[in-house]
């Protein structure tokens, strides 16, 4: 019962009353979609692509969650956009748990009589926040597609993969799997794991340091296409169904779920014995 009440407080105060949770994903999606639309349709299509082409919903999502096949510091655009998409939500969920437990949430905590309930409530809040963020990102992209009458049925187009992400034919899987939900579910699952990891790290170090650790891991993932670095699974262009030598979707799902579970359990054990002090 106390978990249900705590969760309601967390969702209300830590999510619904935080306008940035709604504004940031909408802005990122709309700006990125407009950027792609502009690049495809208005920047001299015959010279750039050689053929008349228009971006579909899958292309817009790949533009957001694609990342890069190989890291090139001089073509920073796709890398920066992917980092922005994944790290913005980390930043949005960064401060609330810590601020809550040092202020009003402290009064709620002593009344619930349970540190476990507090931690579980924060985990569910975190998951809800990440899902809301990505949901709005996708919804905004879908609305943009509706507005420009883009195609919703097809997968990412080869010509766009080549011209926008420099995915050369040799890198592309010869019989690329049809566009399916795994392409988008996996980056979201990775995002969930990363956010919960960040919240758990924040029980050991300062929240901002926890964010920096996450950021460093994302940069490493972009630089090294290694299956051990979880960020690789959050890039559609590095999945084995899209590119040759890509990372396995199955491994990504397992690794993300393991990290997610680890974060929840370690955080639970840590919070049961950690000191609740004021920032000063």
């Amino acid at each position: 019962m106390s978990l249900k009440k705590l969760l309601w407080f967390d969702l209300r105060r830590g999510l619904f009353q935080k306008p940035l949770f709604f504004i940031i994903p909408t802005l990122i999606a709309l700006i990125s979609c407009f950027d792609l639309y502009r690049r495809v349709l208005f920047v001299n299509p015959n010279e750039t692509l050689g053929i008349k082409i228009s971006a579909g919903f899958a292309d817009f999502l790949t533009y957001l969650y694609g990342g890069t096949t190989t890291y090139d510091p001089y073509s920073g655009n796709p890398f920066a956009r992917w980092m922005l998409v994944l790290l913005s939500v980390c930043f949005l969920t960064l401060h609330y748990p810590n601020q809550d437990v040092q202020t009003y949430g402290q009064q709620l905590l002593i009344r619930t009589q349970s540190r476990l309930a507090w931690w579980l409530s924060k985990c569910i809040w975190n998951i809800a926040g990440v899902l809301l963020y990505h949901g709005l990102l996708i919804l905004s992209a879908a609305l943009f597609c509706l507005l420009v009458q883009a195609d919703f049925t097809g997968g990412p187009q080869k010509e766009l993969l080549y011209h926008l992400f420099q995915v050369v034919p040799e890198q592309r899987m010869p019989a690329a799997a049809p566009w399916n939900c795994c392409f988008i579910v996996l980056p979201i699952l990775v995002s969930l794991a990363l956010n919960l990891l960040q919240m758990t790290f924040a029980l050991f170090v300062k929240p901002i340091l926890s964010f920096l650790i996450l950021s460093a891991s994302m940069v490493s993932s972009a630089c090294f296409a290694s299956p051990c670095l979880v960020g690789n699974y959050a890039m559609i262009l590095r999945l084995d169904t899209v590119t040759v030598d890509g990372v396995s979707i199955k491994a990504g799902v397992i690794l993300s779920l393991l990290l997610l579970l680890w974060a929840v359990i370690v955080g639970c054990v840590r919070f049961a014995r950690c000191d609740i002090l004021n920032q000063d």
Binding site: S2, K5, L6, F9, R13, Q17, Q102, T103, Y104, Q106, Q107, L108, L109, I110, R111, T112, Q113, S114, R115, A272, R273, C274, D275, I276, L277, N278
Partner: protein, 218 residues
Amino acid sequence: MMTIEVKNVSKTIRRQPVIQHASLSMQSGRIYGLQGINGSGKTMLMRLISGLIVPTDGWILINGKLLGKDLAFPERMGLFLENPAFLDRYSGFHNLKMLSSIQNRIGDSQIRSALDQVGLDPFDHKHYRKFSLGMKQRLGIAAAIMEAPDLILLDEPTNSLDTDGIALVKKILAAERARGALILISCHDFSILQEMSDEIFVLESGQIQKHLHAPDFM
């Protein structure tokens, strides 16, 4: 009837000892004072007893139950720590109503009565962010007493209060003691503690240096 036993408790934070070998016992129906200069460990001892921080050594028993093992926080506790924080966009009443909804022990009339007791208008719709320092302090005290807790911990409750406010706090604490609550109050002003407390623990560098009983310090 509530009893608290603090047995040889020490706390070290970032290699700095903040409480050293503190032992004390308390029982309901009495007011205990913690006196000491800034940094003497009053707030840390309060936090230890409230269950917010965990002792490095020693143990704390609340009604014979080990704090941190048998229970996470003392049951039926009202806590007021320095600089209380409430929700900016809500009135005093709504802030307290949300807190009380967790345990659901009291209704609107008790909340309004607690606000009235501390000298705040129970029907005032003013948002918390527009409260003065003294009003914020009063709301924090109301939150600590509204559910008629068995244990009341008040850390510097008279800060930012005018003389009327201080008199009000004294009156409230006397009423709570008469009701049978165990009250632990910290204050750097010895004269205020003298007037209110039955026993006073004097802290210095995280150690309890003196334990004074009412006739000794009057």
